[in-house]
Structure formats: C-alpha cells, structure tokens
C-alpha cells in the first residue's frame, strides 16, 4: 500500500445501552470530518440493556461499503468484548482493555455460547496459552498486537475531579475518552475528534463536557504512551467535500419524503422501526416554494392493519407505504393480494432479518426474496426491488412510488438488517435528480357521466387504466377483493376473469419492456470479464471491493448486481450469462434464493453458490477468500462462509 492510502478498521464493543453506538458515531463523524470515507457496521442482540453489542468503523481514502476482518484497533471496556474480539485484531494493531479487569477463565463466562467458548479455548490450548483473558491478551501480543491497558476507573475519577462531572456521567463519558484515546494513538487531529463530538451531541451541554474529555484523553495518551513508536497514523485529508453520514433506514425515509410520501403505517419491529420513527420525527418538512409538507405516520395494532390502512390511504390518492421485516410481511400477505387485485399503488419496505418465525431478530439475512416474489395466494403483478447500499436505498425508496403509481400495484422494496444499521458516508442526495411519475389518475367529472359506475378496470393495451380517487365527483366504482368487472362488480364469469387477469398481468410485461435496463441491473468491474459474480442487495459493497482488489492483482471480474428482482431481468442478463465463466452467485441465505429465481427464469444455474447464513454480513476478506478458492479451482458448487467469532 502506498503511503497516502489509508484503510483502518476500528471496532468498539460493550454492553447494549452503554454508549457503544454513540462512541462509534463520534469516531465515524470525526473521521468523516477529516475527509475520509467511512463505513459503519452495527451488531447487537435482541435486548435493551446488557447484552454484547459492537460497532465496526472503517476509515479509508477510498469509498468503502463493507467491513473487514481483522480489525486494526479494538476498543474494549469489559471482559466480554475482550474475549469475543481479541482474536480479531490484526498483527500490528492495537488493543485497548481495562487495566482494572481481573483475569477470568473463558469457561466461567456464562454469557458466551458454548461453541464460541470451545473455539477460543482450543485456539489458546493450541498456542500453549492458558484459557483465560490473560491468555487471549498474550496471544494478541505474540501476534504483534500492541496491548494497551487503560485505567478506565482512574480516568473516570479524573473526569469527576477535573471536569466536575457526576460519577454516572463520567462513566458514560468513558466512551468519548476511548474514542479520543484511539484518535491520539493514530495521532489524529484532536479538533476533529471534538468535531465528531459536536456533530454527535449537537447543541446539548454534553458537547462541551465531552470535548473537554477529549483533551484530557489526548493529554493522558501523550503522557503515558510512546505514540511515535506506534504503527498506525491517520492524518486529515486536504480534500474534505461535504458528505452525508447516515444509516440505511434514514436514507429510505429521506427517499420516501423526497418522493412525497403522504401516509406511512407501521407496527414496531426490528430492524424496520427506525425508519418510521425517523419519518414521524421529520413529519413536516419545507417545500422548495417556502411552504411545508407533511407525512402522516400511523402506528397500527398489527401488520394486518398496517397494510390495510396504507392501502385505504392509497385509494384516496395519497402516496402510501408501510415498512416491516419478515414476520410483518408474513401478516401482510393477504393485504398484498388485495392491493394486487384492486390495482392499488402500494409501497412495502422490507428490512429482512434472520428467519423463520422470530429467527434472528437483530441479525441479517437475505432470506425473504422468494417470499417477497411470491407472497400471497393467487396471482397478481408486483415489483421487487433491492438496494445495494445507502445511496441506492434513497433512490430506490423514491423510485418505488413511481413504479407503484405508474403500474398501479404493489412494490416491495427489499433491504436487510445490514443496510438498515449501516452507517456510511455518501455524496449529498440530490432531489433534483429524482423524477416523479404519478401514473394515470382519472379525471372522471370532465369525461362525462358514468351511470353504471366508472370503468376503473377497463382493459387497455398496457393493462393500465385511469384510476379515480375516493371522493372524486363522477368517479364512483366498486372495489373488491373478489374478481370483478370493469366497474368493479363481483363476477365469476370465465371470460371476464380471463380479461381481468390478463389485464393485470400485462402491466408487468409492459413494465419489463419500458423500464430501462440500468434500473434493473448494474454492471461493475470489467464488463468483458468472463469471471462473473451475480448478486442482489447488501452484498454489493463486499463484492465491489473484492473485485477491485482482484483487479489490482490482475484478475478481472465482472460484477452484476440485480436491482429489480421481479419482474426478473432475464433478457438483460442473457448476454452476460452466455459469456459467464464461471458464474458465481453470492447471497446471505442458506439456499441461494436469487440463484433459484435465476434458474427458474433463465434456465441457468450458477457454477458456484457462495452463501453465508450465520446472520452476519459477508466481510470483504471472507468474500476474497471464497473468490480465490474459486479461482484456484478449490471451491465446490456450494461455498459456505463461516465465522464463529462475530
């Protein structure tokens, strides 16, 4: 790596509710303020307080959209984080741990699941080290990790005595101290850490107090350690363009707001809730002409009601959406069918998590693709979109409404827990690049009287018919979940059934023809390379980087990312599939759900299926390893990425 290329992976862990997220936010913003690209990955349990959580922040001079192992700096405050992550620190890296913590045998740690305990103990036994925290620290030292003992207790007392902070507040500020120690170890500009503090705490009085803690920590580090002797450096960049630093849920919410969402319903569920809460908090936003514009966010009693209220609102002309994850989608299926047969423009945002049932509620999985593509009894047209990163989440969230209204049907926007909680620097969103398509709305009163009811469902060549909105004079018609005539009258007539079924399904054929290829499929890497990786959703970041790394080694890879999964872009894929050698599909699920769709729609089977289903996203190094194995002819048709330590 050349001297001015920076790529630092920093990890902080601790009990949920103790400020780990805040610490990561401060570090990430401090790095972004120095002109770096930043990527953040959050892991947490389905728990409010106490269970282990951790946050990876990756800082680089190039755009990053994935985490990596090993990490360069590990910040721990207590034993559990130390035990879970000590092995993850790279040679030449730094490990901060509590100087006051006792040496604890690993098999006494009830909070560690047995497989992880066994993996750690056998690792240490092989190295001839005791199966304790001291053994882990020694193993790190032997690997070339600089282990730094930090007297957190004393530092907290120091915060109390010099800054006058209460003991409780001082303990919380230890997070900031650890971030600042990390900054000092990297010889990063303390003013930028303080900027990270200000950007995180805003105008609250906590900003100043925490900024003083930064100075205190820097002073401590300079007095205590020989900073010059440490290997890692982070020097602010000269170029510091304005960037956004935000999560996937925020990006989706902003995309919806930009698109003019007027109604959002939801029932709380991880990892989808944050989006709705953000929308409610930002329910009224300014308009370009100086006015204001609002979205009504409605918390329902369950997801059955969430999909129904959003549909009811959509019938009146409101741009309407609901957001949930797999369990909620299960309940919404009846409502999808109703919207489908009534040709209701409805956006359903799904943040996939580990399934089935309650599954892994706070972990990630691309487990709901086939479900999204098929959910509901009977047949009706739908769209399934999937975003690959935070910037795409914004654009797709807005575009979903255009598809919904243009084709008057259900649009499922798939994301996952990974994207939901990813924090990423992106270029500022530009709403002037978005266009809005409201589809065919009827002007019934101007088109004369319709004594037998407005022909809402009159078959047309495109399958799309003008849609009157509830309350419009002259537009009255019937809506029903039963098969119906062109005015919405229930019918079981065979001919009408055929006509209406064909009308509805035709919309999808028209969409498949009309929608530009780039909205369905993106090509990255070398478009002419035979080595082809096919993906969808949040694995994009890992694949992009792995592709670039291999290119730097002289191995050309073509990366195809499917953004519209239904209707499946079989035609657009065909020329690539014809020349793919090998064809590799990467997914974070067990069975390769997209690979199945691919085979179903194109007849092509991937040569290699790379999957990971432990609930965690694929790290770039894990993917590289898989791709190298494939290149070396050492991978079978199914390659499972496993990692017991995350």
């Amino acid at each position: 790596m050349s001297a001015n290329v920076v790529d630092i992976a920093w990890r902080v862990g601790g009990p949920q509710g103790k400020g780990v997220d805040t610490a990561a936010g401060v570090f990430g913003r401090a790095a972004a303020a120095g002109g770096f690209f930043v990527f953040g990955r959050r892991e947490y349990y389905s728990n409010i307080m106490g269970r282990h959580s951790y946050f990876d922040i990756r800082v680089a001079t190039h755009p990053v959209a994935v985490h990596r192992n090993p990490v360069d700096i590990l910040v721990t405050f207590e034993t559990e984080t130390l035990v879970r992550h000590a092995l993850a620190v790279a040679a030449g890296g730094l490990l901060l741990h509590d100087a006051g913590a006792a040496d604890v045998p690993i098999d006494r740690m009830v909070f560690l699941d047995p497989p992880l305990q066994e993996a750690l103990v056998s690792h240490l036994e092989e190295a001839g080290l005791p199966p304790t925290t001291a053994g882990l620290l020694e193993a790190a030292r032997r690997r070339g990790v600089t282990v730094l003992s930090v007297p957190y207790g004393e530092l907290a007392e120091h915060l109390t005595s010099t800054l006058g902070a209460s003991r409780a507040r001082a303990e919380r500020m230890i997070n900031t101290v650890a971030v600042a120690l990390s900054g000092a170890l990297l010889q990063y500009d303390p003013e930028l850490i303080k900027k990270g503090v200000a950007l995180t705490f805003g105008s609250s009085p906590m900003t100043e107090l925490n900024q003083q803690a930064v100075d205190l920590a820097y002073a401590y580090a300079r007095e205590t350690w020989d900073l010059e002797a440490l290997p890692l450096r982070l020097a602010p960049r000269a170029e510091r363009p304005v960037r956004l630093f935000l999560s996937g849920t925020q990006a989706v919410a902003m995309g919806k707001l930009a698109a003019g969402i007027a109604f959002q319903s939801y029932y709380p569920i991880s990892p989808a809730t944050d989006e709705s809460v953000y929308l409610e908090r930002h329910a009224t936003v300014p308009t370009v002409d100086g006015g204001t514009s609002s979205v009504l966010v409605w918390q329902t009693e369950d997801e059955l009601a969430a999909v129904a209220t959003a549909s009811g609102a959509a019938l009146t002309g409101a741009r309407s959406a609901t957001a949930t994850s797999g369990p909620g989608l299960s309940l919404m299926t009846e409502g999808l069918g109703w919207a489908g047969i009534n040709e209701v423009p409805l956006v359903v945002t799904i943040y996939q998590r580990g399934g089935p049932a309650t599954g892994l509620p706070t972990r990630s999985e691309q487990g709901d693709l086939l479900f999204a593509a098929h959910a509901g009894h009977g047949e009706f047209p739908r769209f399934v979109l999937a975003s690959g990163d935070v910037a795409e989440a914004f654009v797709d969230a807005a575009q979903a409404f255009n598809y919904a209204e243009r084709y008057q049907t259900v649009v499922i926007h798939l994301l996952d827990k990974t994207l939901a909680s990813t924090l990423q620097t992106v270029d500022p969103f530009d709403t002037s690049q978005l266009s809005i398509d409201r589809g065919l709305v009827a002007e019934p009163a101007e088109n004369g009287a319709w004594p037998g009811g407005f022909p809402r469902f009159r078959p047309t060549e495109s399958g799309i018919s003008p849609r009157p909105l509830l309350g419009q004079p002259g537009g009255m018609h019937w809506l029903t979940g039963a098969e119906h005539s062109e005015v919405g009258r229930v019918t079981e007539d065979p001919t009408t059934r055929e006509q209406q079924m064909e009308k509805r399904m035709r919309k999808l054929e028209v969409a498949a023809r009309e929608i530009p290829a780039e909205e369905k499929l993106q090509v990255y890497g070398d478009p002419d390379a035979a080595f082809t990786v096919l993906s969808w959703g949040s694995t994009k970041g890992a694949i992009l980087e792995a592709t670039q790394r291999l290119a730097a080694e002289g191995v050309q890879v073509r990366h195809l990312q499917i953004r519209m999964l239904w209707p499946f872009p079989a035609q657009e894929l065909a020329p690539f599939l014809a020349t793919a050698q090998p064809l590799v599909v990467v997914e974070t699920n067990y069975s390769g759900q997209m690979a199945r769709l691919l085979t179903q729609e194109t007849g092509t089977k991937p040569d290699h299926l790379v999957v990971k289903y432990n609930g965690r996203p694929i790290a770039v190094n894990e993917l590289l390893e898989a791709m190298r194995a494939i290149l070396a002819g050492k991978a079978g048709p199914r390659y499972v990425i496993r990692n017991p330590f995350e």
């Binding site: 304005v242 956004l244 902003m254 009504l296 009811g312 409101a318 109703w338 909105l469 509830l470 919405g488």
Partner: protein, 320 residues
C-alpha cells in the same frame, strides 16, 4: 344557487341482490340509503367499506364509493382512507364474525383514535356466508340450525367491548325497525368521532332462535322483544362532566347494555362529546392536515420534480 336535493334514489343502484329472502340485511341497507340521503350527502362524498360475509355485501347496493375489503379488515381500510381524506364520509359495515372474531383486534384498537367514522355491526349471531357456524356473539349453550351441538363458548357483548375500547358514540338498533335505524345511523354519522352501531339482524336461513317473529314477540301476543331506552336514560357526556356524573352514566350504560331481561334496548347508549376527535389531534401535530391532507398532498412541480426541500434533513447528517 339552487342545490338539487338528494333523495334516497341517489343512493340506490340497480344491481341484483343475492341475500336470502327475509334477511335482516335488507332492512339495514334500506335504512343506510335513507340515512345518507336524509343527511344531504352526495354519493361521491361517501365511501362505504364492507367486511366479508353476507353483511359485507351491503355496499354493493349503495351508490357511493364502495370498497369490499378482507375478512376482518374493514376498519383498517376505512381508517386509512379517512385519515388520508378527512373530507370523506366513511361508513364501515360488517358481520359479527368479521368484527368480533377475526377483526376484534382492529375493533378494540380503533377505539383509541376517535376517528370520525361510523361502524355498523350486523349481529346475526352466526357466520351467514359460511353457512351458519356460531359467531362470537352467540350466547353460551345456544344451538342455531347449523350447529351439531350447542355452542360451548360464551358470547361477546359488542356494546361493552365498544365501551371498554373507547368508542365515543355507541348505539343499538334492530334491522326491521327501519325508522329507528335511519335516525340512529344519521346520529352516528353526525357524531364528530368514532361511532359504533350494533344492529340486531335476523338471519332467517341459519338463526332459527332469534327470528323476525321472535323479535316481534309473535309468541307473546305481539309484544316486541326490543324497545327504545327509557326517555330518562341520558347517554351524553360533555366536556367538563364531573366524575360522579360520568360514573353514574357508565353504570347506567352497563346496566342497559348487559340486561338479561326483555326488552332488549335500542337507541343511543353512549355519546361522549368530551373526547377530541382524531382529526383535531392530528391538526395539532400536522398544521396543514386539513388544508392539505395526505390525499391532496402536492408531490411534484410542473416538471415532475419533488417539491420537498430535504436541505434541513440533509444538514442534520451532513459532515461539513
């Protein structure tokens, strides 16, 4: 300017009806059409949402915006439409199975909002459209025609459930007392909040216990088994009503709603005007809710570009 008067004909529509002869649903339909016309509403201003069941077909025969929803979901669809377009007059109709079984969670939670709409529950004590199984309102031990054995589950009291859930207008009518029903439906619609009207509805095909003749008291010299609440009964709660009065009215409500002696009472059981409607609450939160409700929200300018200015939101997450 002369305004054309609305007549019941405006709400009638020529469409073949497939209810069984003598079904109580005819009475309710008739009353609904008269009530809407009597209020001077124009058909396009009205949206009638139906559940699934024989009762859920009522809106087929009403000239208005009519939405046949899913089994149990009539309230959420109706709520979504009313929230998005508060100018609409929204009526929800459905069966006792639709509302008290599969839709019971929605029934209870709707009470929390006090949204200005009217829900009419057709209580025939059976699942009509699925051929007469026990509905959640059939009393313990009753055996209607289709039941192989008497029901071994108790019946729900819809009025009590409505009260417990926070409905601010609660009434009961009888399907063939059409004049009384017209008045009740109109009162329910005029009430500026969530209104619940239970209608006792004979199902001549499956409910052989509580028939039209039974309600009319044919077996006891023509003394009907239903009668209006006594004139002394006062259902009204006003803003500022003191606690003692409130408690007394609630006790009277419970006595009348649960009485086991005949006659079964009809009329307005509860009219709470002290609770702000959901619309009023929303205006507090979204200042332009009424001037630009979700249904009318401006989304794009003349060039198809978003009208929303995201700048303040971007500023919150911008690193400068």
């Amino acid at each position: 300017m002369s305004v054309a008067t609305v007549t019941v004909k405006d709400f009638q529509v020529d469409y073949p009806n497939d209810w069984c002869p003598g079904c109580g649903d005819f009475g309710i339909l008739n009353a609904l059409q008269q009530a809407l016309a009597g209020l001077g509403l124009r058909p396009h201003e009205v949206a009638v949402f139906g559940g699934i069941g024989c009762s859920g077909k009522t809106q087929y025969y009403v000239n208005a915006y009519d939405i046949h929803t899913l089994h149990g979901r009539v309230l959420p669809y109706a709520i979504g439409a009313k929230l998005a377009n508060p100018a609409l007059t929204v009526i929800a109709v459905g069966g006792d199975g639709d509302g008290m079984a599969i839709g019971a969670g929605h029934f209870v939670n709707a009470g929390r909002g006090n949204l200005d709409l009217t829900y009419i529950l057709f209580n025939n004590e059976v699942y009509g459209l699925t051929k007469g199984q026990a509905s959640p309102t059939l009393p313990l031990g009753a055996q209607t025609k289709s039941l192989p054995e008497p029901t071994i589950q108790s019946g729900i009291n819809p009025l009590m459930l409505a009260m417990a859930s926070g409905y601010t207008w609660i009434g009961r009518g009888y399907a063939f007392d059409i004049r009384g029903l017209v008045r009740l439906i109109q009162q329910a619609i005029r009430h500026p909040g969530l209104a619940f009207l239970e209608v006792l509805q004979p199902c001549p095909t499956y409910n052989n216990l509580h028939t039209k003749a039974w309600f009319a008291g044919k077996d006891r010299g023509g003394l009907p088994r239903y009668a209006p609440l006594e004139p002394s009964y006062d259902p009204v709660i006003l803003p500022g009503t003191d606690e003692a009065t409130l408690q007394a009215r609630m006790a009277a409500f419970i006595a009348e709603a649960t009485r086991s002696e005949e006659p079964i009472r009809t009329g307005v059981f509860w009219e709470n005007r002290a609770v702000p409607s959901l619309g009023e609450r929303l205006v507090q939160r979204l200042p332009n809710y009424l001037s630009e409700p979700p249904a009318k929200k401006a989304v794009a300018d003349g060039h198809g570009r978003p009208v929303v200015d995201l700048e303040p939101l971007l500023a919150e997450v911008a690193i400068r």
